[in-house]
């Protein structure tokens, strides 16, 4: 898709023409919070560069959508929160600078501050699933996934903390990559959970995923957790592990499509093996201590003093209370509250420290598995996309959506969600997890998987 468009740029159509075509498409699914009309002018600049003989590389000339927690200088950036309703980004995120020549069509809808798995926690109304409008598109990168499947963008960037790229990719039927922790700079990504957040692509194909990943990866001195990343050739024959422990928790329709995927891969010569992740079920409780804890610290910055919305109050303390009370949403408040509690005096050892130790055990399980197998294979989500409103009043049942995506997040390993089939209108995705820095292995298996879908 990306290569195809780039091969036609300046020949069959100009960048301005294709950008206009994308900007003019009707957004029937509440995908964008902010559209960027200035994209047309930027496309003209790209046309000039192509006319001047510049070689088309990276994402040059490609109309993209960007999740609304990633900063583009001069463009409103809300993270789908009313507390940032008036916030204009003062600088570019590192990934935006890396995507030189790409065209940014707009900022996509999401769960507020990336807190959610359905898109229903947006302060700007939920995104609808383009496959069936009564269903959630997944979250938190709801609009980014929906933009790709509805072809309102060629590809998109999202962020993934516990599955926020992979789960909406699965629910919408696109390719979603969670990158190795540290492989992509987070400078200019609004912090949610510093020990987990990663930026990654949502695309129509594995090849596109690889192109975007290669463009955005690499060390950035402004993010001290980012690492040097050299893409290396990787094996093309694999032994793939399937965790025994997940079986009871996976819905039967999802299981059927998953088993079918295994069969097709076996026909391509891929070997499968049972593995054990004995602490798998502790992933969600572990995550729901670490995450709120880090959220409560990270979201302390929204105080009505330095930027964003501010309530009108007579003294500084009531200004904090009123601003945060008025402008933060329900799930965000819930997470700040849990986080504040688990970090409060006397509780740190019982909750956060214990969770980080359990996390170490879960990571150890995954590392042990990688001594036996090259990849781990699971469904992306344990159930099908659910109806809008179905889980919104039951936070814990919503949290269960992350069961199979959390382990790779806790371990910092890369993982990719690939469309594997449909149950009626509703897409089902499957997930490959690779060892740290082995994105190339995911692209290799992903391309084999795409072939068996045809």
């Amino acid at each position: 898709m990306i290569k195809d468009i780039q091969s036609k740029l300046g020949k069959e159509y100009s960048c301005k023409e294709i950008t206009k075509q994308y900007l003019d498409k009707k957004d029937d699914f509440n995908i964008f919070i902010t559209k960027r009309e200035e994209a047309l002018k930027e496309a003209e600049e790209v046309d000039k560069r192509i006319k001047n003989g510049e070689k088309i590389t990276g994402l040059m000339g490609i109309p993209m959508a960007i999740k609304d927690n990633i900063l583009i200088k001069g463009t409103r950036c809300t993270a789908a929160s009313k507390i940032l309703d008036n916030y204009i980004a003062p600088y570019n995120a590192h990934v935006i600078d890396k995507l030189d020549g790409a065209i940014f069509l707009g900022k996509t809808n999401m769960d507020e501050f990336a807190h959610g798995s359905s898109g229903e926690h947006s302060a700007y109304g939920n995104t609808l699933n383009p496959n069936d409008r009564e269903y959630v598109p997944g979250g938190s990168s709801s609009g980014s996934a929906a933009s790709v499947v509805a072809d309102l963008a060629v590809c998109a960037l999202g962020s993934d903390t516990a599955g926020s790229i992979r789960e909406p990719a699965s629910f919408c039927g696109v390719v979603g990559l969670k990158t190795t922790f540290g492989s992509v700079s987070r400078y200019g990504l609004m912090s949610m959970v510093c020990s987990l957040d990663q930026i990654g692509p949502l695309t129509k194909s594995v090849e596109d995923s690889e192109i975007v990943f290669r463009a955005i990866k690499g060390r950035d001195k402004r993010d001290s957790t980012s690492i040097d990343y050299r893409v290396e050739d990787d094996k093309k024959e694999f032994i793939v592990g399937i965790p025994e422990e997940m079986i009871d928790d996976v819905d039967k329709d999802v299981k059927r499509i998953f088993d079918d995927s295994v069969k097709r891969l076996e026909e391509k010569g891929i070997k499968f093996k049972k593995i054990h992740l004995p602490n798998l079920k502790y992933g969600i409780p572990c995550y729901y201590i670490i995450t709120p804890a880090e959220i409560s610290a990270n979201l302390a910055r929204y105080d009505g003093v330095k930027f964003g919305m501010s309530a009108k109050s007579d003294d500084i303390l009531s200004n904090y209370f009123e601003t945060r009370g008025q402008f933060l949403g329900e799930e965000t408040k819930r997470r700040i509250m849990i986080g504040t509690h688990v970090l409060s005096s006397g509780y740190y050892d019982a909750y956060y420290l214990r969770a980080q130790k359990v996390r170490a055990k879960i990571v150890q399980d995954i590392n042990n598995a990688f001594n036996e197998v090259d990849l781990i294979f699971t469904p992306t989500a344990p159930f099908l996309p659910f109806k809008i409103g179905e889980k919104v009043d039951d936070p814990i049942s919503m949290y269960l959506a992350d069961l199979l995506t959390i382990p790779a997040s806790l371990a910092g390993t890369p993982a990719i969600s690939l469309p594997a089939g449909k149950m009626g209108n509703l897409p089902v995705g499957v997930q490959f997890i690779a060892p740290v820095m082995k994105e190339q292995r995911l692209f290799n298996i992903g391309k084999i998987f795409e072939q068996c879908q045809k």
Binding site: P90, F181, M309, D315, K333, H341, S344, R354, K357, V436
Partner: protein, 92 residues
Amino acid sequence: MKIDKVKQIANLARIKLSKDELKVLTKELSSILDYVDQLKEVDIEGIEPFVHAVDLHNVVRKDEVESCDIDLVSLAPQTKKNFIKTKPIFND
């Protein structure tokens, strides 16, 4: 969890909550904390807490002043000249 405890947490978190919000959160926080309590089943004897997925430590840089053309001050709700303006922090 009692409603007074929830009020105390909201106070620490600097969030004003309505009566209804307090009621709902009291119920929800209790069930979430019950749910995460299953971590107590895990034997963590002798386990070091997880720190970072990739082996990184002591990333340092020189403490040097660099020029910066990013205008952050004008984003503040209230400003005066090139300063952010707030209500008084200290009382008499």
